[in-house]
Symmetry: C2
Subunit: 596 residues, 2 copies
């Protein structure tokens, strides 16, 4: 059922040759011992675990799915998932980037991020069980009381317990201001919470002894709308003071959803019938507390899509070299065979290179943002921390939406390489496409991401964050613009930078007339931003590859060819996107809803 | 599970107001009695059948799938499929556009085409059972012996028997020259055929008493490659002279495939173990005979995708009006409700209008091509027949590839309108996306279509067919270019026409240097052609709508808004595509296969 080999060489190129992370870490006390050797060792171990333990369960997990037992309200995960989770906990993987204060290994976010790429390449559905725990960990660490931290964090860090986010209700997903779940204070610091939640990933399962639900609900005195939502910690089993699990809390799974993909992950309807919980953070400030979780989760969704892009590409590549069909248009390339391997055909190469380019750029981009998170959290200089935080805020919606849209394109192209076999379940390709589709929806739809980027992150601070990031690009263009060997990369980068500046100002002006202009431009605008980022990273990587191409290592030749493909074939999307973003709101709003 | 209402008003607009088909038919003896009343009556009956009988089986058919019984090598279709097929036969639907000589109703291809849109909107998987029969009918009518025709055509026309195309083998799909199935002549005009075929849609099922397989195989004296392939008629049951079914022929289904979608249709592995067949057409000329089938099938695949685009759009529209979530950015539009219906949001409208525009243009385009087929077959003037045939040849690959790519985009956007609910099977949207995916692959992948268009249909006849079609567009632009009210439509159409001319010449020149340049440009080139066609049809429809917009019928307002949306939001894709097509082969071919 296909194959997966973690792309260690490209990961190492990004971390060591491009970002030079261990140099960076020398300046951060928390990470000063994290050198290239440690990083490579963890990556290699991560590769083994994901290739050998998780990947073999990916297809079978999709075919089998999760089982719900109505009598016990319990969920059984697909064969092998529970055992793999046990190995994950025993291997200490859950603790990788967690705080040593709670039992974590204290390794950088960058490393955890690379590990998550591998996890998702090998098994996205499985990865969502530990993946959601990490968000709960971050949220509790930031907003939890000392007691909550002491009781829950060590268990989340070890992986003995997993976490969830219980936000969505049947009538509200994007618009959480409409939510109806209620929390009644009991006067003892606890609350009894009642309501119904849907689409709760990993809401119930058999991998861990306890599940820590983070639940949004309203207090009795809550203001209406999104300013009246509080966040509660609601464990499946109420823990005893010694950390052992006690009484079963009435938060039960009522059903699991049949869905397009990620069949191996349980998507649960959760019913709370006076379940006991404690408040996280301030009353009515639940959404603020949840945002910590959401940002980590959005980067995580980007990594899901990078993972799928990579594994789908790898498999399509193997097939394209193996499958023989037709002769090359320019004459036989394998005259000893009855036909040529299909990788000789230009359009098959276009499909493959689309996956390769999207994966490599996404890897550089997401590793860069992860490094910014490391800076934001642990750099000794406050200005550096602040700048890093601004960049993370600016780029997170781009990671989420651009990478997930790209994965939808790239996994579908990888399927197409297989012809009819791509449509057959047995080959495994169609699962990647189905799994990839959810990433454009959850943790804020891609439309929501685009409004977050253009409305909140750019226009609401008068473009300050964008300007700071743009100055980096400008400096790179100016430093390298006269280098002839780089001009094929730097010139289009510089041009796009100018176009983004102009486009942003135009939309900003139009937004004064009607805020609908922002809504009408946001989705193509985000993809233009995505291409600006990818152009920037490809140009930088190409510079390194040019410098090293005489080393004899063919890796650099491949990197250069991929960058050239990107500028020739993917970058031109900006010509379409800018026209769309500029076309305004009237072509969308003119028609009365009744006349659709 | 959603809804489907056949878009009769838009179909009637296309057939009567735009194409004015009944005027056309007055000049064709075969169809001279086919007036608007007859057409509308058939459309209305077709709408009832598809809405009431087939649509309710679509989702359940997907969930249940087909069942294979290894002991009897038989396939059971999902609950209700067999009964619906019986109603289809009893209603005379199979005979709609067939020759009265064999029991057909002799109605135009245009009408059959509109009916197929409805069939596919309501149930693509079911529609493939009768859909493949129609191809077998056309192939036999064109190339069959008198005896074959007499024995098989009445049964195919009535729908009592269904048909298949048995082309693909495990090692060859696109490259049929590699196929290995053998046919041994028995000296009595029959052949014993042995081999294994895969991906045979409707290869075995329980809807009809007999199945007429059209099988490609090699005769003992066959030359190698694609010039040594012959076509055979191999019935499941050998018919007796009176048309009753006789002996079971050893062509058995060995397994059915698990696949991404169209679960209600059986995709069979067929094993022939000395199955008795008769030759269709000339020895070694099987591919020529098959092409009749393939062309009809390619238009049919386009109709599958139009059908899916329409039904997915309809459902997304209902949801977008019903679902309330967030306020409009420009202030509440439904202040009496806790939130606005999501159709107020510009980006939701973009998604909806994408489906609406693609469906309406595809409907006009495919009806136009169907009318050209009617002309090709039945116009008394030979020159008209020849010109029509040329246009059908030119436009068939565009119908197949452009409409199927668009449906993949539009069904995915329709899913996205539902947010998380779109990913859940219960809502039915994800099935449309899964079903749509196969259409880009079968009956020649979309890459194959693009090579057929650019290589065979355009460059190989020095652009003659394209020039003739282009002259029509040019005449329209010249006739209407000075009309100010039309310039928003006609100007971009004229510009794109000029660009296509220039691009075609450029690629033609490059092709002299290397044929790989054709392969490198073909896919984006085909989509540019698709947009030229859509621009042409939208401009013509907008002209009619402008003339009639004061009639008080709001339909014309909607048509104009859709055309404006098309030119503002979808047409700009050409800016990307032309850059891609022009970027040449080197960005695809430079990298050694080992360095991917």
């Amino acid at each position: 059922m296909g194959q997966y080999v973690a792309p260690l060489r490209d990961m190492q190129f990004v971390l060591h040759e491009f970002l030079n992370v261990s140099e960076e870490y020398k300046g951060m006390p928390r990470y000063q011992d994290v050198d290239a050797d440690i990083i490579n060792q963890v990556l290699e171990e991560g590769a083994k675990f994901t290739q050998e333990v998780l990947f073999p369960l990916n297809h079978s997990g999709d075919r089998e799915g999760c089982h719900y037992d109505a009598a016990t309200k319990s969920v059984t995960t697909p064969k092998g998932f529970k055992e793999a989770y046990k190995q994950y906990v025993e291997g200490g993987w859950a603790a990788l980037a967690c705080d040593p204060e709670y039992g974590g290994q204290g390794l950088p976010v960058v490393l955890n991020n690379s590990f998550y790429e591998m996890l998702n390449s090998s098994n996205q559905a499985w990865t969502m069980y530990p993946g959601l725990s990490h968000g709960a960990y971050e949220c509790l660490k930031e907003h939890g009381t000392d007691e909550q931290k002491a009781l829950y964090l060590p268990k989340l860090v070890s992986g003995e317990w997993t976490g969830t986010m219980c936000l969505t209700e049947a009538h509200c997903g994007t618009d959480l201001g409409l939510l109806r779940s209620k929390a009644e204070p009991q006067g003892d610091g606890t609350y009894l919470i009642s309501g119904s939640k849907i689409f709760i990933s990993a809401g119930e399962h058999d991998c861990a002894e306890n599940i820590v639900h983070l639940v949004l609900a309203r207090l009795p005195d809550a203001p209406e709308g999104s300013k009246g939502i509080s966040l509660f910690l609601v464990p499946k089993f109420l823990p005893n003071a010694d950390g052992s699990v006690g009484e079963r809390n009435p938060i039960f799974c009522g059903a699991i959803e049949e869905k397009m993909g990620i069949h191996g992950n349980s998507t649960c309807q959760m019913n709370l019938d006076g379940a006991r919980g404690t408040l996280i953070g301030q009353p009515h400030k639940g959404l603020n507390a949840m945002f910590v979780f959401m940002n980590a989760a959005r980067l995580g969704v980007g990594m899901q899509s990078l993972g799928l892009t990579e594994v789908a590409y790898q498999n399509a590549l193997v097939y394209a070299k193996d499958r023989i069909q037709m002769r090359s248009l320019s004459g036989p390339k394998a005259p000893d065979k009855p036909a040529d391997p299909i990788i000789v055909h230009p359009d098959v190469r276009r499909m493959l290179l689309t996956g390769k380019a999207y994966a490599e750029a996404a890897r550089a981009f997401s590793s860069y943002v992860a490094l910014q998170i490391d800076r934001e959290l642990h750099h000794p200089d406050e200005d550096v921390r602040k700048d890093a935080a601004d960049e993370v805020a600016l780029l997170t919606p781009v990671i989420k939406a651009f990478l997930t849209d790209n994965a939808w394109i790239a996994t579908s192209e990888a399927l197409q390489v297989y012809g009819g076999h791509g449509y057959i379940s047995e080959w495994g390709m169609e699962q990647y496409v189905r799994d990839a589709r959810i990433n454009m929806i959850y943790e804020g739809t891609n439309t929501v991401q685009s409004l977050d980027l253009l409305g909140r992150k750019i226009l609401m601070d008068n473009g300050a964050k964008l300007r700071k990031f743009g100055e980096k690009i400008k400096a790179f263009v100016e430093d390298n613009g006269l280098d002839e060997s780089l001009s094929e990369f730097v010139t289009p980068l510089g041009e796009l930078g100018d176009k983004v500046t102009k486009l942003t100002m135009e939309i900003g002006m139009k937004a004064f007339q009607s805020p609908d202009e922002v809504g009408a431009a946001a989705v193509p605008y985000l993809r233009v931003m995505g291409h600006l980022v990818f152009s920037y990273f490809f140009a930088q990587m190409a510079k390194i590859a040019l410098e090293k191409q005489d080393s004899g290592d063919k890796f650099y030749e491949s990197k250069l060819a991929t960058a050239r493909f990107y500028f020739a074939r993917l970058y031109p999307e900006t010509a379409m996107l800018i026209r769309q973003a500029r076309s305004g709101a009237s072509n969308l709003l003119a028609l009365d809803a009744d006349l659709f």
